[in-house]
């Protein structure tokens, strides 16, 4: 069941098209990763979803909400959250809650609950100007959650953090996943693999690949034969590319990666070649391409 349906979302700026015909289907209860290199259009897409940028065209449709202003249904954490430095953490959360329409008493309760959940309750009464980067990120998550939004939108929630902070925030997202639907952007595949159910790979403003984590792993993985040799044999490399079972050959000085369609046939032929071309093999490995390979292929091709 789709909570949000995004259709043909496009954003032209004066000198470029940042997002082009992006369609997403965000299912209720899922965690969706928008994965892509820097400058791919992730932030622009997210800002349109958060209502801060107007799409050039395309629609964003919330399930069951005919209203155009769906801002109360989303919680938004920008890439660089900026708070009022003169407020305390708790004051900011209460302010955010009240602006989202929570009554006074409830806002305070909710603020305390979230400060505890994010593990920053000791800093509740300190000015935000004294907070560390990790604490600000938690406060950012707390303010995004405070009105129990149907969809949580997080723009690069972990990229500015050190490894420890990164781990902690990812754990937090895993926890939040139980309660709500999440869309987050990242340029790191590992982060997407860690917590997401569905992945959209975006490049130059366009979705180049999408699916569940499992689908991507199963459908797009290809058998690969990796051979480490003592020296490069150009003649043999040339011949390899002519075989029907070979999909792609990539070689560095010492390593040859052969993506193949038929593993058994490939293995037999290549082993024969190794003998006839007298290749000095150090290792011979049959395996599958990883999601990493797919991601790199998709964002560089």
């Amino acid at each position: 069941m789709s909570l949000v349906t995004v259709t043909d979302l496009t954003k032209h700026f004066a000198d470029n098209t940042a997002v082009n015909n992006v369609s997403l289907s965000i299912d209720k209860g899922k965690c969706i990763a928008l994965l892509g290199p820097n400058g791919a259009g992730k932030t622009t897409t997210i800002k349109m979803l958060a209502g801060l940028l107007k799409p050039t065209f395309g629609t964003i449709q919330f399930e069951g909400s005919e209203e155009r202003d769906y801002r109360n249904l989303i919680g938004y954490l920008p890439q660089y959250p900026a708070f009022y430095r003169w407020m305390t953490g708790k004051e900011y959360l209460v302010y955010a809650a009240e602006l989202s329409g929570l009554p006074d008493g409830e806002a305070k309760e909710k603020a305390e609950e979230l400060l505890k959940m994010m593990g920053i309750e000791e800093a509740a009464k300190r000015r935000i100007s004294t907070y560390s980067g990790g604490m600000k990120q938690r406060l950012g998550l707390a303010q995004a959650m405070i009105h129990d939004p149907k969809l949580l939108i997080l723009d690069e929630p972990v990229s500015a953090l050190d490894p420890v902070g990164r781990y902690e925030v990812l754990e937090m997202i895993r926890k939040l996943k139980e309660k709500t639907t999440i869309l987050f952007s990242t340029h790191i595949l590992h982060d997407a693999e860690e917590v997401s159910d569905d992945i959209y790979i975006i490049r130059n403003g366009e979705i180049v690949l999408s699916g569940t984590l499992q689908e991507l792993q199963e459908e797009h993985q290809q058998p690969v034969i990796v051979i480490e040799t003592a020296e490069k044999n150009e003649e043999w490399l040339g011949q390899l590319e002519t075989y029907a079972f070979v999909a792609n050959v990539a070689s560095t000085r010492a390593e040859i990666r052969i993506e193949v369609n038929d593993v058994d046939e490939a293995r037999n032929q290549i082993l024969k070649d190794i003998l006839s071309f007298n290749i000095k093999v150090k290792t011979f490995k049959v395996g599958y391409t990883s999601l990493e390979d797919l991601f790199i292929k998709k964002v560089t091709e």
């Binding site: 958060a50 109360n72 920008p78 302010y95 009240e98 989202s100 006074d104 303010q143």
Partner: protein, 259 residues
């Protein structure tokens, strides 16, 4: 509690933490008190300066009380306006530049409330500071120089206050459409200076200008009545203030929040 009031309360709290509630009234009060004091002691000051030739009698007449109030307006028009512009230059621009605005506007907050709450909070602070300074000036003038009729003084207070309101509204307007607070201050002070100077020279052509409000206020404090075309200037000024505010909202609504 209504959303507008929540935004308004936040602005007031920010001004409190920034010490604006301390220094803005202080500046106006210092200016207001110093004007009657220097007027009263001016002959003495000149005498001790000792630049006059031997034997010459100094006779500098102490001006009538209403003129001292009018001179106070002159003080408010310089340092007072400068202080108001500096205090409000970053009111919207700062939030856009830092990115705090986009986190607030991703919530169901209307952009009109966002702007108008800031404007209203700044005006509350302005009028309070001005009231304190004006009352101080009036009281010291009464002690040192002489009485000013209450109805005249109160009438002039509101008319000159409208000029300050215009100045703040103009600054808020620039702050809404520009991101750099320094440029906001520069443009605000520049245009206020030009408006004021032109309105004092082209009196006929610009009879409607808010820049004439200080002339009317000075006239009211001594005669009880505004100068020529007083009601024209009054109503046009109120009109311009409203239009500026609506225009600020309209332009802000078109703005896309990219940091």
């Amino acid at each position: 509690m209504g959303q507008w009031f929540i935004l308004f309360k936040k602005e007031c709290m920010e001004s409190w933490r920034n010490y604006k509630w301390l220094w803005m009234p202080s500046v106006f009060l210092i200016l207001g008190l110093m004007q009657p004091i220097t007027t009263y002691y001016l002959p003495d000051i000149l005498a001790t300066a000792g630049e006059l030739p031997e034997g010459s009698e100094i006779s500098i007449p102490i001006p009538p009380a209403p003129d001292v109030i009018a001179a106070t307006f002159g003080q408010f028009s310089q340092i007072g306006i400068l202080v108001l512009v500096l205090a409000s230059m970053g009111i919207v621009a700062g939030e856009r530049a830092s990115g705090t605005a986009s986190m607030i506007l991703a919530r169901p907050v209307s952009r009109f409330s966002f702007i108008s709450a800031k404007w209203a909070a700044m005006l509350l602070l302005t009028w309070l500071s001005y009231l304190v300074g004006y009352a101080g000036s009036w009281y010291y003038t009464f002690l040192l120089i002489g009485e000013v009729e209450a109805t005249n003084a109160i009438g002039a207070f509101f008319v000159y206050g409208l000029w300050l309101t215009f100045a703040v509204t103009l600054t808020v307007f620039f702050s809404t459409i520009l991101k750099n607070a320094g440029i906001v201050a520069f443009l605000s002070i520049g245009s206020l200076l030009v408006i004021s100077a032109l309105s004092h020279t082209l009196t006929k052509l610009l009879a409607w200008s808010p820049g004439r409000l200080s002339v009317h206020a000075s006239s009211i404090v001594s005669t009880g009545e505004g100068a020529d075309h007083f009601f024209l200037a009054l109503s046009v000024s109120i009109g311009i203030i409203i239009v500026l505010l609506i225009l600020a909202y309209y332009l802000f609504k078109q703005k896309e929040l990219v940091e």
